[in-house]
Symmetry: C3
């Protein structure tokens, strides 16, 4: 039913590592149907199976598998289980699935007399959130999340915003400590940007305000942000700390609005895996643009939390499950010292799995040997 060679471009191809997963696929045929069968794990499977036999009927132990003995319709049960498993397998084999559109793409500024100029056009689009699943979105430059803005402390920045939506909008630079008139809140700091209009924000990024920030709509925002008007605004520090020197700098924008549960605008299996080579150090910038908390759980390795909302924590601290609330940003470092393909998902399980398989807020960290 499953066959690695049928899925070019999927997880295995990404990993390009002869992992134990392939091994188990080759040995999966060892799995016998019926009560009491032992499926050995990949390494030293025979030896392990022997040991297992030694404990399968321990003195005074509990009864062993009795499905068949109980006279139950084993074949039907097994068929139902197989059908469920096939749905799960299909999703995982499809990962990472191709979809049209990709968010978070770096946006190179145009330079205008020492000012970094970025243009954003807000427009309604169709967005493929998961394979074949088209949703109505509001997007900056056709992307969900919008293009990634990356500047330096002290930079002079101009954001030119064009509103091609049917409703007014405005852009708030969440986390940046700007002059009030650049804050993007209609009727408090500016008029709304009407449909068909453009608006210019211009400011100097304060020195001392480095870190993982966001930009998003601050007008009819429950709807507009839920529909996709959001993006990452990264401010590089002038003097990076030693702990910030990483091999890969990843972004994970969480959302749970009109598009379902998404990571960087896509639901599993269309989410993109994070990849690293064994021994590399990665940074992950979590940003929650949704309405719910999402405790993100990484398998196999812990995360070292360094920043909250762009501000250094007094001391780094470790966890494997990090609770990220709406509006928060948390930056973590992972030392990729454990090879393999590691599940990485929201631990509110209904955000990640149904009886039809994984979906939504699921991706993987692939550590290649």
């Amino acid at each position: 039913m499953s066959n690695d060679t049928k899925h070019p471009g999927t997880l295995d191809a990404v990993a390009q590592i002869p992992t134990s997963r392939r091994a188990f696929l080759r040995t999966a045929s060892l799995s016998a149907v019926g009560a009491g069968a032992l499926v050995a794990c990949s390494k030293g499977s025979v030896a392990v199976a022997q040991k297992a036999a030694a404990v399968a009927a321990p003195p005074g132990g509990h009864e062993t598998a009795t499905v068949a003995q109980a006279g139950a319709p084993v074949v039907n049960r097994r068929a139902a289980a197989d059908a469920m498993d096939a749905m799960h397998e299909k999703g995982i084999k499809a990962f990472p699935a191709k979809t049209a559109g990709k968010g978070n793409q770096p946006l190179a500024p145009k330079m205008a007399g020492g000012v970094k100029v970025f243009e954003l056009t807000a427009r309604e689009i169709q967005w493929e959130v998961a394979p074949g699943q088209m949703v109505k979105a509001m997007a900056y430059n056709g992307q969900v999340p919008g293009p990634q803005i990356r500047v330096q402390e002290g930079d002079r920045v101009r954001m030119v915003v064009h509103n091609e939506l049917d409703q007014s909008t405005a852009v708030h630079f969440h986390g940046l400590e700007l002059p009030n008139e650049q804050d993007g809140v209609p009727f408090i700091t500016q008029p709304p940007i009407k449909p068909g209009e453009s608006y210019i924000y211009e400011f100097t990024v304060p020195v001392g305000n480095a870190g993982s920030h966001m930009y998003h709509s601050h007008h009819n925002a429950a709807a507009q942000v839920g529909m996709g008007l959001l993006g990452a605004f990264i401010v590089e520090p002038n003097r990076p700390r030693a702990i910030e020197k990483v091999d890969h700098d990843y972004l994970m924008v969480l959302n749970d609005g009109a598009h379902g549960y998404t990571l960087n605008g896509k639901g599993f299996p269309a989410t993109e895996p994070l990849t690293a080579r064994l021994g590399e150090k990665i940074r992950i910038r979590f940003m929650n643009e949704g309405m719910m908390i999402h405790p993100m759980h990484l398998h196999g390795m812990h995360m070292t939390v360094i920043d909250k909302d762009g501000w250094a924590q007094p001391q780094p601290w470790k966890c494997d499950t990090l609770n990220i609330a709406p509006g928060e940003r948390w930056d973590v470092i992972v030392n990729c010292n454990n090879p393999g393909t590691w599940a990485f998902h929201c631990h509110i399980l209904p955000h990640a799995e149904s009886e039809h398989g994984m979906f939504g807020m699921v991706t993987a960290l692939v550590v290649a040997k």
Copy 2:
């Protein structure tokens, strides 16, 4: 449609600062209707507009606004956008809106032989949660939140509670480490206080138990606290830390029960702004009396977190969005070094904004020059 002079006592009056907001209101007429119009920000608007023109048609840039070109019914779209914007503007112009009743009022104790005596009467009332929106409430002394109790470490305190509700009640002093019989849990530490009865709590506030605590019903509490039987119980330390010496000490009680999403018992635009002069330092004591988390986001300046549940954090840490869970108290310091009117709201956006404008858990920090 809007006119500053029509709204005495509203946000501008509170701020009493010639902010850029007024400036933009004066310049808002510069905003032209139609595709491609540029609305310049308040300062140096001409220069900025020229720069904008320079990037409006960049080589290889994306297409500019095409609403009019697409043959769409621009006028209808614009009218719909204007109608939505008018609702948003109306709410903001009304802020801070007057309503009957004010919670959190300091309650001066009566002294009785060295004992600070506070009286609380629980009674059902009508409460104006937002302009014209009357709700049934259960309140201490007619206030939601109940009157603010403020004592000192080591104080002897007597709380005389009168129950004029139709149901029994009891008062728990959340965060105080009291003798068990003063803990306020019916059938564990006391009998319920029946309708028409009174009850006396008396205790010495432990030295070492300073900070932001709460008092609230602990009987049928999901209903009674949701309806308003709650208040702040602040214990002043005998030896304040340097970081606690502030110019203003604010309280922000969050709730999300029968009265909708409220800050200090009111929904926007009836919430009260926090005010400070430029350079002042304020403390904000967040207290969540609701059933949901509320990640409070301050624009324009960060918050330095000093205390959790009245206990000093090992080291202060910074953020702009602070996730506050039910029952938690978090104390933060804000150095008001950025002038202007800053939105301050729950970042679960449906708790703060709908397509009809801002509501619920929204207020502002106004930093006057």
Copy 3:
């Protein structure tokens, strides 16, 4: 209506302390029915009542209880209040209520050539979640939570898993940094364990990976974990820190799935109290296996947070309400220096109390003199 002697084995019996609660039960008859009656607290009740009388009609004070004066049907109101109170009292008097089945039971390993072998059998059972309330569960070894696994850093461990469910399953060791093929994610690191099959995990617990971890299903997990396929996996450190040396080591597994709001698989009043003698130090290992946050609030004493997900926090910090998100583990220390029976509950009040009384995520910490 209530009578201590009618409830052998309940809270009082557990506490075995002549607490103020008994005292109040003895003095409860002092409580008079009607407006303005004063119910004195247990100690020095006469003196307190006298003082209270002194403040009951203060000069300029608010009006005193007027229920009777208002001509309201006092008797009917009181009857309604009494009926509600009786339901509350009944629940508390029943605590801790006996139910069939107990989760978290330590599972002694069988030794096989230096390997600690644990066997888990997943099977559908009926589970008594609260007195008389039977629910369908999926359980390891007939327990919810499954049996407690406790090993040492560096141990070689074999987990033999038998699947007697009607659907496939797999076991993930949440928090353990294992070789990828032991990670328990079907179609990524292993095939699913089909109904009637068994599967063996075997690994060395990494040194440096001590702490409060979990094992649970990682297949159709929103359903399977919600139904009970979960348990604690504790790794003892080779070199315990001084702060870890405690008199009692408690576990509190939170869940909110198909069985309602539970602590260690039971809803109040079937939850088990934590007990300690005055002056003892206890550790509580919170683990959230549910879909919602649960801010756990301890009355009367604070908690000192030492670990997150098994990793030491940089410095311990104090709180009385600890927000625990799905997938998280938090370890706290409580110095039991305040005698009495202390409510201990989720502060999302609808998870703990209704107008029919306490239920769900409620227990008590009983500190005996």
